[in-house]
């Protein structure tokens, strides 16, 4: 099982993030930490996502509305990339001539 971080760990790791800001990201569901008896638990992926949120809000000056739009688009981008990768993998498992016909049909579109 991968490592988990408490809310205090997260604030100590990401020095430019405040507790108030973190709670507002959770309330806006930008970040979905696990819930446990001892409070929230964060994973590595949450920390990387919080760094991204800090870049967007502090460096690019996005307000919370814009932040919600951007993070949702990034999520959708990654879903689309994953689905594309899954389809590519599936095509590679097909017989070569069938795979080539699919690729040819895609490039004609």
């Amino acid at each position: 099982m991968s490592e988990r971080f408490t809310q205090d760990d997260v604030i100590a790791t990401i020095t430019r993030l405040t507790h108030v800001q973190l709670v507002s990201y959770i309330e806006a569901a930008f970040i979905q930490p696990e819930q446990s008896d001892g409070g929230y638990l964060f994973r590595q992926v949450d920390i990387a996502r919080l760094e991204l949120l800090c870049d967007l809000s502090q460096d690019l000056g996005l307000d919370e509305n814009a932040l919600g739009v951007v993070i949702s688009l990034i999520d959708q981008l990654h879903i689309a990339r994953q689905e594309r990768a899954a389809i590519t993998r599936a095509i590679h498992t097909l017989p070569a001539d069938l795979g080539n016909r699919i690729l040819a049909a895609v490039s004609e579109l």
Binding site: E27, Q32, Q35, A48, L52, D59, H78, I79, Q82, A85
Partner: protein, 320 residues
């Protein structure tokens, strides 16, 4: 890439603080690795841009750089993991909006396909979104949660609740035999629908907290059971914990460490499945912390009269 932070940001030495901020923002937009997941060079560019900005963003460090007191390396950043590095991993909860894992109920996939088809064909006003006589109708969005549950609650099933971001609580029934990483779908517990459309679903990704005694392997439970030297040699009845409470277990005479005994039907029973897992008990011989002179004298005597080398085969096998 150039070491000069002004050149990296495409600025002259006379740039104002505002121009620095503008130039930096523009470069973040074009080079942030998370905004350009398909660009492998974005990482290196963004690192250089950030380091340059770190020097120039405050007038103090900028003045020290201009005076030659610090060089461009002064703001070297530690390596950082970007969000895109996690985006491909299968346990990224932020990407499980539509993926179908191994535990997905085939009915859910079918329902999803029907829902999408209804959406594409303009919608019938109920299952998909679209304009009907009553105006715009669409199902509500799904909401996503993650919940850590204790090991025993996951294998035995339990009722718990999660706190929603707005402070309300949502009752969650953890089905028997829930696995780490499994997603529970609570129909109609997501966001409210639009124009009388159905509410979305609440999707809850479960992570199972490890247990100090029990481990899970598929439907089987594994434990390591300490036994005494006497029990190992003579055999006997001992008590072993199971997920449903302690049971009696007969240790066969002459059992070694590492021997695995099977308690049939004492493992995980998954909800909706008739198959019962087993509990596998691995024996581990434990020597008393204080060995007395009697025991030492007895064993030393036996060593002389009954030589036994359990490593003979091992040493032979190591040569081949």
């Amino acid at each position: 890439m150039s070491d000069d932070p002004y050149k990296i940001l495409g600025l002259s030495k006379t740039a104002t603080t505002d121009e620095i901020k503008q130039a930096y923002r523009k470069l973040v937009r074009t080079s942030h690795p998370d905004l350009h997941p398909d660009d492998p060079a974005a990482d290196a560019r963004f690192k250089a841009i950030s380091a340059a900005h770190d020097i120039l963003k405050t007038p103090e460090t900028r003045a020290r750089f201009d005076a030659g007191e610090i060089d461009a390396q002064g703001a070297e950043r530690p390596p950082r993991q970007y969000y895109r590095d996690f985006a491909e991993s299968s346990d990224n909860v932020y990407q499980q909006r539509r993926g179908f894992g191994p535990d997905t109920n085939p009915g859910d996939i079918f329902a999803e396909i029907l829902r999408n088809r209804a959406r594409q064909s303009g919608g019938d006003g109920f299952s998909g979104g679209g304009f009907s006589d009553r105006g715009f109708v669409a199902p509500g969005p799904d909401s996503h949660f993650r919940l850590e549950v204790p090991f025993l609650d996951a294998v035995r099933g339990a009722d718990t609740r999660i706190t929603l971001p707005d402070g309300q609580a949502l009752a969650v029934a953890i089905p028997k035999g829930t696995k780490d990483g499994q997603t529970l779908r609570l129909r109609g517990k997501g966001g409210a629908g639009y124009g009388g459309g159905p509410a979305g679903d609440a999707l809850i990704v479960i992570s199972v907290r490890p247990h100090p005694v029990f481990r899970r392997d598929g439907d089987d439970i594994e434990i390591t059971l300490p036994i005494t030297i006497e029990e190992a040699v003579l055999g006997g009845k001992v008590t072993a914990p199971t997920i449903d409470g302690p049971v009696g277990l007969t240790i066969p005479a002459g059992a070694s460490s590492g021997r695995v005994l099977r308690l049939r039907g004492r493992g995980v029973v998954r909800a909706g499945s008739a198959v019962k897992g087993d509990q596998r008990v691995e024996l581990k011989i434990v020597v008393p912390p204080d060995t007395d002179d009697d025991l030492r004298a007895f064993l030393a005597g036996r060593q002389q009269t009954h030589p036994f080398d359990p490593r003979t085969d091992l040493l032979k096998g190591a040569d081949t």
